[in-house]
């Protein structure tokens, strides 16, 4: 008994810190979103749930349903994020597969090179592209030399030749570029865990490589796919900087931009807080799913 209490005492400072700066901070979002504003348009939070005013929340909900002023942004965010995730999976899966099963003596180097990007500041990685895709940049020149810009234009994906001039496709590719590294790691971990003998068994039993892939490897790597999916979907949902750096045009803005504009921009902090509540509710499911799989994994390690 005595012993047990000591451990709770150990956790106390950290828990108090997280209680105040994480739990109460999120409660502040709720109180402001369900609060009111004064005559200077500054938010007056309502800390007492009995005083909650649902006006801003209703306004936020009305803005994100069809016909609302943020409807287009919501649809665009969903499209961008979905396409970016599919792109990240199609690029990340073969790379993770190679690194985990075929890299051989290069494995150490490949793993380091795959890890490197996510220790390079995200902002710096985007910044590198703003240099490359500037009209005089190497990226633009290469894309132009390969006629990729005219190809994209004829497909209706690119308007003109300025990649940084408010192009949806640039934002999507930038999102893929930014988040693939985060997708590769859980994929790598789950592919790495598949016992080689299972694959051998499939082949010994006569499965040609494609069917041993579709019927053995792919199903067994499903946890990694799902974890990676959640892992990139969550930050993408709150991403506003990729859009501002790669496009900056309101025609490509995402839900994160809307919230950022409300909170940091004008007099609509309460509406921004209400939007943040909505976003969190939508994402909560994904967050808890990921936490569960993370803890299951930790449990496995402990066992």
């Amino acid at each position: 008994m005595q012993k047990r209490r000591i451990w709770g005492f150990f956790a106390a400072p950290g828990m108090l810190w997280l209680g105040l700066f994480f739990v109460v901070a999120f409660y502040a979002v709720i109180s402001v979103g369900l609060g009111n504003i004064n005559t200077l348009y500054q938010p007056i939070p309502h800390w007492n749930p009995l005083d909650w005013n649902v006006g801003y929340l209703v306004q936020a909900i009305e803005s994100v349903i069809p016909g609302g002023q943020n409807w287009a942004v919501v649809v665009r965010s969903v499209i961008y994020i979905t396409v970016a995730i599919i792109g990240a999976l199609l690029i990340g899966y073969p790379v993770a597969y190679y690194a985990s099963r075929h890299a051989g003596r290069w494995r150490g180097l490949v793993v380091v090179l795959l890890i490197l990007p996510f220790w390079i500041s995200y902002i710096m990685r985007m910044f590198a592209w703003t240099n490359l895709l500037a009209p005089e940049g190497y990226g633009s020149k290469v894309l132009s030399a390969l006629s990729i810009d005219t190809l994209f234009s004829s497909l209706g994906l690119l308007d003109g030749t300025d990649w940084l001039g408010g192009q949806g496709i640039t934002v999507i590719i930038a999102l893929i570029y930014g988040y693939v590294p985060f997708f590769i790691l859980p994929l790598f971990a789950s592919l790495d865990r598949i016992d080689q003998r299972v694959i051998e068994a499939a082949r010994d039993l006569g499965a040609p490589p494609p069917s041993s892939f579709w019927r053995v490897i792919l199903p067994m790597s499903k946890p990694g796919i799902l974890a990676g999916l959640v892992l990139v979907a969550l930050p993408m949902a709150g991403d506003y900087y990729t859009q501002t750096l790669m496009s900056g045009s309101p025609s490509t803005s995402m839900i994160g931009n809307t919230i950022n504009d409300y909170i940091q921009g004008g007099p609509d902090k309460s509406l921004g807080a209400a939007m943040t509540i909505l976003l969190s509710v939508v994402l909560l499911f994904f967050m808890l799913y990921y936490l569960r799989s993370l803890r299951r994994e930790q449990g496995e390690v402990a066992a």
Binding site: G14, L18, I91, M124, N131, I148, P235, M287
Partner: protein
């Protein structure tokens, strides 16, 4: 993106290719090797070019133009050490990272030890709260702290203190994950032995557990440093003005405006500090756990960021 169609084609193609099964089914599929190295090139080349441009002689930020260090140390007022705004951003980033590292690590270690052992009422929710910052989108997190400091904790307000608090809050969860991983590796045996030999609980922690945790502690310190120095969203939301701008904030603000390589030089310095911290973390971890049976330390340290998404 251009690689995508080929990938799909290649996964299904071998099935139709006659005589495939006569070949070696364990041979390395060549296209996989190709895709991987093209991807690696695509992921790193832009950053390498951005670094190269920092060493330009000329003023171009989009083209390679000679060699010089003048955008780092030049006595013109545009170099990193000549422009007070850039220099302040670097000092401020280092200050935040240093403070975050010194506060988040002890808090996270204690939290990890506590959570690992504490099996009582409230330990379930406590576990969730300790890991939740890892999966919370940074924007939601930053909006929360911003509103907290502008409505409730107005005595602290926005600025350096708020920024440090923000960095500590999100990086503490990483420390918890690292230290708990180490606690699992170490196991309870040594501690139990010490307790059986009559050591009081605090002595067990101080003289047995902490030395065993040393590699994880060192790794935590440096990883918090790296996380903090790379952070953008929380720093931006909790900044109070130009004097609390960090390096990522400067880059963000000027990426599409001031076209001078000094910004690349600033970004290069930041990257240098991050990588230095990581290499140190790796070396120290390896050194301290030498002789122990372990998985690849590099993969262990690398996988730590998998909760971040920042």
């Amino acid at each position: 993106m251009s690689a995508v169609p080929t990938e799909q084609a290649a996964t299904s193609k071998p099935a139709q290719r006659p005589g495939f099964s006569l070949g070696n089914p364990w041979s390395k599929p060549r296209w996989l090797t190709g895709v991987t190295w093209v991807y690696i090139l695509w992921s790193l080349l832009p950053v390498l070019l951005a670094i190269r441009v920092a060493f330009n002689e000329g003023r171009s930020r989009t083209a390679i133009d000679g060699w010089s260090l003048k955008w780092f140390f030049g006595d013109n007022s545009f170099s990193v050490f000549g422009d007070p705004a850039l220099q302040d951003a670097l000092t401020h980033s280092l200050l935040l990272a240093g403070l975050a590292m010194l506060i988040a690590t002890p808090l996270g270690i204690m939290l990890a030890i506590g959570l690992q052992r504490w099996r009582g009422r409230g330990s379930g929710p406590a576990n969730v709260v300790a890991l939740l910052p890892l999966v919370t989108p940074e924007l939601v997190f930053a909006v929360g702290l911003f509103l907290l400091f502008t409505t409730l904790l107005t005595t602290i307000g926005l600025g350096t203190t708020a920024q440090v608090i923000g960095h500590v809050t999100f990086s503490m969860s990483f420390v918890v994950v690292i230290v708990r991983g180490r606690l699992v590796t170490v196991g309870p045996d040594v501690e139990e032995a010490a307790a059986d030999l009559g050591a009081p609980p605090l002595a067990v922690i101080w003289r047995v557990l902490l030395p065993l945790l040393a590699p994880a502690i060192a790794a935590s310190l440096l990883i918090v440093f790296a996380l903090s120095i790379d952070d953008f969203v929380v720093s931006q939301y909790l900044a109070s003005g130009a004097d609390t701008a960090t390096v990522p904030m400067r880059i963000y603000a000027q990426a599409r405006a001031a076209p001078l390589p000094s910004l690349n030089a600033l970004a290069t310095l930041m990257l240098l500090f991050t990588l230095l911290a990581l290499v140190l973390a790796y070396v120290v971890f390896r050194f301290m756990t030498r002789g122990e049976k372990r998985g690849s330390a590099i993969e262990q340290i690398a996988s730590i960021d998998s909760g971040g998404g920042r």
